[in-house]
């Protein structure tokens, strides 16, 4: 008679199929929401199949309490985090979730390691040195090495995306906020050798654990080493490259899940994990290409490191009334949004600004740099929230030729993506494609100060004669500019 529990394995096939179509559909704009639904459905099937299988096994489910409480807590926290997140905080949240996924894989491997090593029959489980008996031990080591690295790397990436953190227990200022500490970017070139050395050491420890199965000390060693490796891996990489790093870490967390699949002997883990690992790697390359960067350079040549250029020049700021007068009677305006727009949450005011201009027959469009903000697509999502029509958002390559016939370019909270220094091909920004805002008749820049951007390079555009700087918070400045326009 066919065992029903074995038949349930077909459920994993359904689940894996849903994942495959989910990822495929997520890569096309029309089908993306459906793809996400497929993925979620596949996950639900996988969880249900697993629970049924456990219930049908000889001993049934022994850990109901753990399972139900664990799922409950996780679901509530996950729901809460996903629904309360601000649009600006989404990249950080993806990084954090990614770290959790990696940690979960690594913890499962650790849990299994302890179970295997402390099992009463472990000593008499000879002959253990059959090659296929070593596989779980190899997988435990590999999962630990990759999983913990994903966790610590993702956490560092998250703080880098935030730019820093409020120091706990520090004195509160008058606004009730604690001291803000900038997250450091540190990475002398010799650190690459340290990283390589640690990685090789990790591999050696995994091989050692094969000869000494049951040595918990070695496993703990791998865990600690992997944690340090994750931190050192991301620490030297500048914030502008974080999207690529998070994507790579996402690929790693998939690989960790696949290794865990070998530990617990479960095919859906192996399929979904390795597929996400491979697809994540391809996405990483696609993102690198969009930024005109090589993955190797991103990972091993510090970009936007600690050496920030100090400012030697000054520029007199303009006021919104002056800018409003310049805007009067123009025919074409291109808006160039950046991270500053996201931080100040001024996308609705930007839309209002565009509406006012359009009422006066001005042609308004938006120039979207592929990596404006902190993640690709960041600006699209924000402007969509403010109901900016899709066809007004124009990608960099298409709009760059239009700047020469554009009267005013309004740059709001962007810096590196409009820095002409990138054209020189030298320095940290060298070779990065930029938006040609400097070719517009007049460039209006809303920015809090002249300070350098993520790459740490001073921006010549700020000092040009045709540039008008509106110093201040994006939201405040946009509001003042809008009211000045209405008074004209």
């Amino acid at each position: 008679m066919v065992d029903f529990s074995t038949l349930l394995d077909l459920g994993y096939l359904i689940s894996a199929t849903l994942f495959i179509f989910g990822i495929k559909k997520l890569s096309s704009p029309k089908t993306a929401p459906q793809g996400n639904l497929y993925g979620a459905l596949g996950m639900l099937v996988a969880v249900l199949v697993t629970v049924f299988k456990m219930q049908l096994s000889d001993q049934g489910i022994e850990g109901w309490m753990w399972i139900v409480i664990g799922l409950g807590i996780g679901a509530v926290i996950g729901y809460w985090m996903a629904t309360t997140v601000e649009m600006t905080g989404m990249p950080e949240l993806v990084a954090l979730f990614n770290g959790f996924g990696g940690a979960a894989s690594a913890l499962v491997a650790l849990s299994e390691a302890i179970k295997v090593y402390t099992a009463d029959d472990y000593a008499i489980a000879e002959p253990i040195f059959q090659v296929y008996h070593l596989i779980p031990i190899l997988a435990i080591g590999a999962s630990a090495l990759v999983g913990w690295m994903t966790l610590t790397g993702s956490l560092v990436a998250m703080f880098k995306l935030k730019g820093g953190f409020y120091l706990p227990l520090s004195k509160k200022d008058e606004k009730g906020r604690r001291k803000w500490v900038n997250f450091p970017t540190w990475g002398p070139s010799w650190l690459n050798y340290v990283k390589s050395l640690l990685f090789i050491l990790g591999i050696i420890m995994i091989i050692l654990s094969l000869n000494n199965p049951g040595n918990v000390g070695l496993i703990i060693g791998i865990v600690l080493l992997s944690c340090v490796l994750g931190i050192l891996f991301v620490l030297p990489i500048g914030g502008a490259d974080m999207p690529v790093v998070v994507s790579l870490l996402n690929s790693l967390s998939g690989i960790a899940a696949a290794f865990t699949g070998f530990v617990v002997g479960n095919t859906v883990l192996i399929i979904a994990g390795s597929m996400v690992g491979a697809a994540g790697l391809i996405l990483t390359f696609i993102m690198c290409k969009a930024m005109n960067r090589e993955l190797f350079d991103v990972l091993f040549k510090a970009f936007g490191g600690s050496e920030k250029q100090s400012l030697t020049r000054t520029k007199v700021g303009s006021d919104p009334e002056e800018v409003a007068m310049v805007l009067d009677g123009i025919s074409k305006c291109i808006i160039v949004p950046g991270y500053g727009m996201a931080v100040s949450q001024s996308q609705h005011l930007v839309k209002e600004f565009a509406d006012i201009l359009e009422e006066n027959d001005v042609d308004v469009s938006y120039a979207i740099h592929p990596v404006a903000g902190r993640m690709p697509g960041h600006m699209n999502v924000l402007l969509a929230e403010a109901n900016v029509p899709y066809e007004k958002l124009i990608e960099m390559d298409e709009i760059n030729s239009e700047f020469s016939e554009c009267d005013v370019a309004l740059v709001i909270g962007a810096n590196d993506t409009v820095n002409p220094a990138a054209r020189s091909g030298e320095g940290p920004l060298g070779g990065m494609p930029i938006i040609d805002a400097d070719k517009a008749g007049v460039v209006v820049i809303i920015k809090r100060s002249l300070s350098v951007g993520y790459a740490g390079v001073d921006n010549d555009l700020f000092y040009e004669d045709k540039t008008m700087m509106l110093f201040g918070d994006g939201k405040k400045m946009m509001a003042e500019l809008n009211s000045a326009l209405k008074e004209l």
């Binding site: 997520l26 996950m43 022994e62 926290i77 990249p91 894989s105 994507s247 979904a272």
Partner: protein, 107 residues
């Protein structure tokens, strides 16, 4: 040895799993080729939610009434993996709804 390493009690089982592993990697490489920049973040986020599949491993590992350190690790793994899965799909959906809402607004 322990029951948890079930399918590896035979060499055939291991080789089959290795085959599946290799094929899934090839599949992953071929799965996506051109992705518009707008979808980079949602795709990453969605794939990230799928890598929360380790929830299955966590469930299997937590299936014990012993309440020892191994179960506690598995319990924490369930929580983290569930956050990854639930939060990941929701946040991806949130991003995609905005992109879609934009299109509707444009028409």
């Amino acid at each position: 040895m322990n029951e948890t390493i079930g399918i590896f009690l035979t060499l055939e089982g291991f080789i089959l799993s290795l085959t599946v592993f290799a094929l899934a990697i090839f599949l992953g490489f071929e799965l996506i080729s051109k992705v518009p920049p707008t979808l980079h973040t949602p795709l990453m986020s969605g794939a990230n939610a799928i890598s929360g599949i380790s929830i299955v491993g966590a469930l299997l590992a937590a299936n014990s009434n012993e309440g020892n350190i191994a179960t506690i690790f598995a319990f924490i793994a369930i929580i983290l993996a569930t956050i990854n899965v639930v939060g990941g799909f929701l946040v991806t959906n949130k991003m995609l709804q905005m992109i879609r809402g934009k299109k509707r607004g444009g028409n």
